[in-house]
């Protein structure tokens, strides 16, 4: 059996059952994403409930969020979806050197996003926006932080898949781990504009 991310999850196998089993990892990831969508749905509805309940938004005396810098971060993250898609395309054409390079680009963009976001956090804390300072601040750190943790988790998955790719674990016909990773990365990326519009612009 070709090694994929499946063996990391301990995917069940039976000689001759490969066709029936293939697709399990992608399927599992999609199911997981469905519950993640509900998780962020809960956070975002919490945002709107609390926002509707306060007279002023943002509350007086609280710093404004860095709309422009974050717009740049948003573009950086969206670009990483494109590079990851290129990595997948190259994999389908059996070009593993190129695929690996596009993955490195994806990881750099993702890490750049996290680093830039982290820098903004430090600045905001310096301006007096904390979880304790207002519900506004608490919502900001909770929602943006939850997304950041997801990006970090997805980066670990990318790194893992990249390692397998480098060891020649995938083939043009079978690279389900890479596909699953692309789907999860796309989810994490496309979630961000929704959060950006909600938290920074609305």
């Amino acid at each position: 059996m070709p090694n994929t991310i499946e063996s990391a999850l301990g995917s069940s196998s039976r000689a001759g059952a490969l066709s029936r089993r293939s697709g399990s990892v992608v399927f599992g990831v999609v199911i997981f994403i469905a519950s993640e969508v509900m998780f962020f749905g809960g956070l975002i509805s919490g945002f709107f409930v609390l926002r509707a309940g306060s007279a002023f938004w943002p509350p007086p005396g609280q710093p404004r969020l860095p709309v422009l810098v974050t717009a740049f971060n948003t573009v950086m993250l969206l670009a990483s979806a494109l590079t990851m898609y290129r990595a997948l395309q190259q994999a389908q054409r059996d070009r593993w050197q190129a695929s690996g390079r596009w993955m490195i680009a994806t990881m750099l963009l993702g890490a750049g996003f996290l680093a830039s976001q982290g820098r903004e956090w430090v600045r905001l804390v310096g301006f007096g926006l904390t979880a304790r300072s207002s519900v506004y601040g608490a919502l900001f750190y909770t929602i943006v932080g939850a997304h950041g943790l997801h990006v970090a988790g997805a980066l670990v998955a990318l790194l893992f898949v990249f390692g397998r790719l480098r060891r020649g674990a995938y083939s043009a016909a079978n690279h389900e781990g890479l596909t699953a990773c692309w789907i999860y990365w796309a989810f994490v990326v496309w979630l961000w504009p929704i959060i950006y519009v909600t938290v920074y612009l609305s």
Binding site: M1, E6, S7, L9, G10, S11, S12, S13, R14, A15, G16, A17, R20, R21, G23, S24, F27, G28, I31, F32, A34, S35, E36, V37, M38, F39, F40, G41, G42, L43, S45, G46, V49, L50, G53, S54, P59, T130, A131, R132, S134, V135, Y136, G137, A138, L139, Y141, T142, A146
Partner: protein
Amino acid sequence: METHQQPEPGFLRRYVFSSDHKTIAKQYLGIALFMSLVGGWTAYAIRWQLAWPATVVPGYGVVGQQFYNALVTMHGTIMVFFVAMPLLLGAFGNFCIPLMVGAEDMAFPRLNMLSVWTFFVATLVLLASFFVPGGAAASGWTGYAPLSDNPAYTHVVWGQTLWILALALEFASFLMGGVNFLTTALNLRAPGMTLWRLPLMVWFELNGTVLFLLSVGPLIAGAVMLLVDRLLGAGFYLPAKGGDPLLWEHLFWFFGHPEVYVIAMPGFGIMLEILPVFARKPIFAYRTIVWSAIVADGLSLIVWAHHMFISGMDPRLATPFSITTILISVPFVIIVFAMIATLWGGSLEFPSAMLFALGGLASFLLGGVTGIFLGSQSSDIYLHGTYFVVAHFHYTMFPVTFFAGFAGLYYWYPKMFGRMMNERLGKLHFWLTFSGFYLTFIPLFLAGLGGTPRRIYMPSEYVLYKPLQPLQVLATAGALLMLLGQLPFVINFLASLVRGRAAERNPWRANTLEWTVASPPPHGNFAGEPTVFRGAYDYSLPGRTTDWAPQDTPEPATLAAAG
């Protein structure tokens, strides 16, 4: 990666860190049964306090006010999250799904192992919370804010944080399990096992799982905010800091109501699996049952606010939630009708499994009917704060957890452990449990109608409710009878492991695939791949020598035309 051709793994890999779904099922079962003893003990202390307030509870001592709150909180938490879920999903889901769909194991066996061990840690964390300074969480199993948010209200600091942590671990565990359940049932089916040939047990486990996966996210979001409040000093749920305690109730009940169905669906699955076997009749309206369950699933996501009619929610919201709540009884009535129609005219047999299934069906009916009064906001405003609600939800949760759970245990025990249980002890167990259950909760319906408020340490303190105190004593007598009634089960379960008669492959003459392999099934389940030719409920077909037809028996041409 293991395949069934390989030699059996060593002791640790086989019994402790096993990735075999059958072993994992037994591990979930073990934790669930142990935790049901802990949950039973909390029920005993609570009931004793309510019948004979502030007297010495035999074996413990006097239950103080603070500890009473912790007992009530932990009773609900344990029974819902650490008994019902691991029993109905963890144990039965893990055991039945791969066997019933004809798979060698779950889709991701190692993820499955991680799931049960995460759950084990969650259990330890929850149990540890009894022993930390300040004691266990005391804000109710619903963890209402601000009680759960600010330690000033309950004097519980560590207990509440550990409670959140234990639930977070439990949810992570069941998320992993859920991904496995769905992927296995949809992707690893044997050839011929079409969706419309899936046993209802599988369909209902899937329904419960999907509902869990869709509803748990918002509660995790709510729990994250609660943790941020507690640990970082934010005020999501504290009005003084610009927060809103109702937000917690919305997020909790968005999950909490579907959670009832996450448990009820597998419970119904067990009953639906057992009824046709012991009625020797095909299930009535198989596809209608499946569609009804799916509709009930969908509706259950839009009824949550019926728990909040007296919480200070916008009253204009109450009417739509009343309507959806009353609508949801329709699919359940259809399922119950199909169950009764399955029994109608059958050649009924009454082993313990069937008794528990029938007891569960009858009791759930009463739970469902009393729910209508709580779904309608006009009557709910009077009843919501009373023991009527306590009796109602025990009449829904207990039947699906324990009656259906025991039915499943008596039914699948031979397959799980390769031995038969003792039927006489089983029937004794049923009648003691059944009568104890009714004796406990019928009086509580009456106490609730009389207005006795729930959630308080000593309702008899109030002159108004003092005349209703005999009802509380009756309920406690029932609870003691019920607890005593578990003794034959414990003896039966343990003794049958060593002394039970060896089980044949198919002791109940049933059709689903697990009965076509040895008891217990070997590692890898099937020798080769089974092929499925028919649905799971071909009982008493005309023109056959046996009155059952396992799913892997080819369909004779003549019957194909008739069917």
